[in-house]
């Protein structure tokens, strides 16, 4: 307990410095409202449900886009490693689209699917798919030949080998790709909602900022930042727990 306190004390110091700078009015309180006001605004927004409804729609978009990206991206990556023609066909396309800054797709997804959930889910799906694909591809390609051979010599069918040998050995790299995708999904979610949306965290940040209720805006910004951090830690915990057999 005290160890954790010492370890994280710089964060506490920053928080106290924030409160003091604002209270002593070293900077204008519109630019930096005191942390205590921000917390009060956060509690208010939880109470009237504003944060929860917007948060729920944001999380739904991130989750749906990410789930699609993992399913389709993972299947593509393993397919590319397992069947050469798939690789020949897809590798150049992956190579061209991988370095594309995915935020450039925000206006197009809006042209295609409008201002609602659809465009955000499509954006997150497109943006998060390639890291998963590349993770799955590298993992599956590196699966030990000895294991594949022994499975084959024991009479496993192609599908069985894929399911029982290639997929499990591709898992660590695939999961690393998913972790990258998870971080990316939050970035894309917030940016697209900041730019065009009618609900969600990003929209809330934008509209609160436009109204000048900066303490509430800070509260939402910190909530999103914390959720991104918590999602990453939760993901690590789950993967460590599920894949204890590999360690």
């Amino acid at each position: 307990m005290t160890k954790a306190l010492i370890r994280y004390s710089p964060l506490l110091i920053l928080a106290i410095a924030w409160e003091l700078t604002a209270r002593l009015e070293l900077v204008s309180t519109t630019a930096l409202p005191p942390l205590s006001d921000v917390i009060a605004a956060w509690i208010d927004m939880i109470k009237d449900g504003e944060l929860i409804t917007n948060g729920a729609s944001s999380l739904y978009r991130a989750f749906a886009g990410l789930a699609l990206a993992i399913l389709i991206g993972g299947a593509l990556g393993i397919g590319m490693a397992w069947w050469k023609p798939v690789n020949v066909l897809l590798a150049p396309i992956v190579e061209i689209f991988y370095p594309l800054p995915k935020s450039a797709l925000i206006p197009v997804t809006v042209i295609w699917l409008g201002f609602g959930d659809g465009s955000k889910i499509l954006l997150i799906f497109l943006g998060c798919m390639l890291p998963v694909t590349i993770g799955a591809f590298n993992g599956a390609r590196a699966s030990e030949q000895v294991l594949v051979w022994s499975a084959r010599s024991m009479g496993a069918s192609k599908m069985r080998m894929l399911w029982d040998v290639v997929l499990p050995s591709a898992m660590p790299e695939l999961l690393n790709g998913v972790r990258t995708a998870l971080a990316l999904s939050f970035i894309l979610l917030v940016s697209s909602e900041l730019i065009v949306a009618q609900k969600g965290f990003g929209y809330l940040i934008g509209s609160l900022g436009a109204n000048g209720s900066y303490d509430a805006m800070y509260a939402v910004v910190l909530t999103v930042a914390f959720l991104g951090f918590a999602a990453d830690r939760l993901y690590l915990l789950i993967t460590r727990w599920t894949f204890a057999w590999r360690m």
Binding site: P10, L11, T30, I195, G206
Partner: protein, 275 residues
């Protein structure tokens, strides 16, 4: 990413040429196919030109942007913002990383900030940065640096911690000063991992530059796309994507080349690369 065709030495040269050609064709086949399908779909009448402008129209638009000089201005501004931020991230990130490995106090202060800040979607702080610094280059560069510096710091810390102790001990034994140990032993040995951190940071700078430009408007490729989208000019939007895609591709490839050049002495230079 590319599979290398197995080299068969006893093959006739003609066969080898045919194989190379075939392989080259296979590599661009799908890209050509994609363009053909795109053109065909946009001409089929199933989609309005608003939903899917033809690639030929998009190319024409890029050409006219290029002739009018807009393309050069926007590209130069976006690149300027991304690369200045990248330089700040590279220098600042490596310095902070080095400080964290050398001083207990720096480590105590920065370690929790890095471990909490790294996985956060820092782009959410964009409105706060705008509130503080306005909508000009300073705030764009600030938000890009906030987003892209974390991978550099984390990579530097891990890289320096992983430098083999024996190297440092032998250098000390032979009378190297602290500065010599740092510049001649620690930094070169840590270089591969630091480069990996930089390679993560570089695409991030472009992603965030585009978002910041979209949100704040003005010149720059992101701003130009947003303007086009406000006027329902989807050809302009698609042209923006193609332009940004080309820049992203060139930047990533250039970075991989720099890495190969800088690490030519390292054993990884002989390994097949995936980048």
């Amino acid at each position: 990413m590319a599979h290398v065709a197995p080299a068969e030495t006893d093959e006739a040269p003609v066969l080898r040429l045919a194989r190379t050609l075939l392989w080259g064709f296979a590599r661009i086949f799908s890209v050509v196919l994609l363009l053909v399908v795109w053109e065909a779909l946009s001409r089929s009448g199933k989609f309005t030109p608003y939903q899917l402008p033809a690639p030929s129209a998009v190319l024409e638009r890029i050409w006219s942007d290029g002739v009018s000089g807009d393309l050069a201005i926007n590209t130069a501004l976006t690149l300027y913002r991304a690369l200045v931020s990248f330089a700040i991230c590279a220098v600042g990130g490596v310095l902070i990383g080095m400080a964290m490995t050398r001083s207990k106090i720096a480590n105590w202060f920065f370690d929790p900030i890095i471990s909490v800040g790294f996985p956060m979607p820092k782009i959410a702080f964009l409105p706060v940065v705008i509130l503080w610094l306005g909508v000009y280059d300073v705030s764009k560069i600030t938000i890009i640096v906030i987003d892209a510096i974390f991978p550099v710091i984390a990579a530097t810390v891990i890289a320096i911690q992983n430098v083999e102790r024996e190297f440092i001990w032998s250098a000390r034994n032979m009378g190297a000063t602290n500065r010599e140990v740092l510049t001649q032993i620690v930094l070169p040995a840590a270089m591969p991992q630091i480069m990996t951190g930089l390679q993560v940071a570089l695409p991030l700078t472009l992603i965030v530059a585009v978002v910041a430009e979209m949100l704040m408007g003005g010149y720059g490729l992101g701003g130009a796309m947003m303007t086009a989208s406000r006027f329902a000019n989807s050809t302009g939007v698609f042209a923006g994507i193609v332009e940004i895609a080309v820049i992203g591709y060139v930047m990533v490839k250039a970075m991989a080349m720099v890495r190969r050049r800088l690490l030519i002495w390292h054993q990884e230079a002989n390994d097949p690369t995936t980048a």
